[in-house]
């Protein structure tokens, strides 16, 4: 089945130690999104790629970076994780910017 895959499902890192989260998709969608979701809150969009075009949200901290080396893969890099970055990170894809989004299972990040 076509799907959005996130690895790892659970990630533990230390304060200040860089971490990379991975997302891949078999849907061949043009758009990929990264969201941060904290407990009992709605997802917060960090950035998205339309093909290779990177779109950063104005309030996304510089600590968060992203790479999309090809259509199928997208990475979220957190350069110096703080305690406040502990959250669920959701990857989503859509066929186009105005189309519905399909989500991966998420990566739960713990910062010690």
């Amino acid at each position: 089945d076509a799907m959005v895959i996130q690895n790892p499902r659970y990630q533990v890192t230390q304060f200040g130690k860089p971490v990379t989260l991975s997302c891949s998709q078999t849907l061949n969608h043009n758009v990929m999104y990264w969201y941060q979701q904290k407990s009992s809150q709605a997802p917060k969009l960090l950035f998205h790629y339309y093909d290779k075009d990177f779109n950063n949200e104005a309030d996304t901290p510089d600590n968060f970076q992203s790479r999309r080396p090809n259509t199928s893969f997208c990475f979220l890099d957190i350069r110096s994780p703080g305690l406040g970055d502990a959250a669920m990170y959701l990857c989503a894809t859509s066929r186009a910017e105005g189309a519905e989004q399909f989500f991966g299972p998420g990566t739960r990040l713990t910062v010690l």
Binding site: S40, A42, H48, A92, G98, E100, Q101, F103, P105, G106
Partner: protein
């Protein structure tokens, strides 16, 4: 700016009964999409139903249906014959079809289906 309001933080329903979750939104746009997403305790966000603003007919997906009232800017979700697996957080979301195409989320409604 668009906003989405879900006025019911928590709801509960007995198994096999019907429940309606409310959602209102504010926009000056005429062309947009509305969604209901479900997020069970496992945390995978799942698309439940999609409504295009230019379509008057209410969307339906099996036991899930919406009551879309464009003039009132209301988009409620009805779940019929509730099942234990429907226990989840439900998010209403708005997507502008024009500029600034990002999902605007409501705060969610936590639904518990009781046996």
């Amino acid at each position: 700016a668009q906003t989405v309001t879900q006025s019911q933080p928590e709801m509960s329903v007995q198994e096999a009964e019907t429940v309606t979750l409310s959602c209102t939104y504010d926009t000056s746009e005429s062309n947009y999409y509305l969604f209901w997403y479900k997020q069970p305790p496992s945390r995978q966000m799942i698309l439940v139903i999609r409504q295009e603003a230019y379509k008057q007919q209410n969307a339906t997906e099996n036991r899930f249906s919406v009551n879309f009232q464009k003039a009132a800017k209301s988009f409620s979700l009805k779940i019929s014959d509730s099942q234990l697996g429907d226990t989840a957080m439900y998010f209403c979301a708005f997507l502008n079809a024009g500029n600034n195409r990002k999902l605007i989320w409501g705060l969610g409604t936590s639904l518990a289906v009781n046996p």
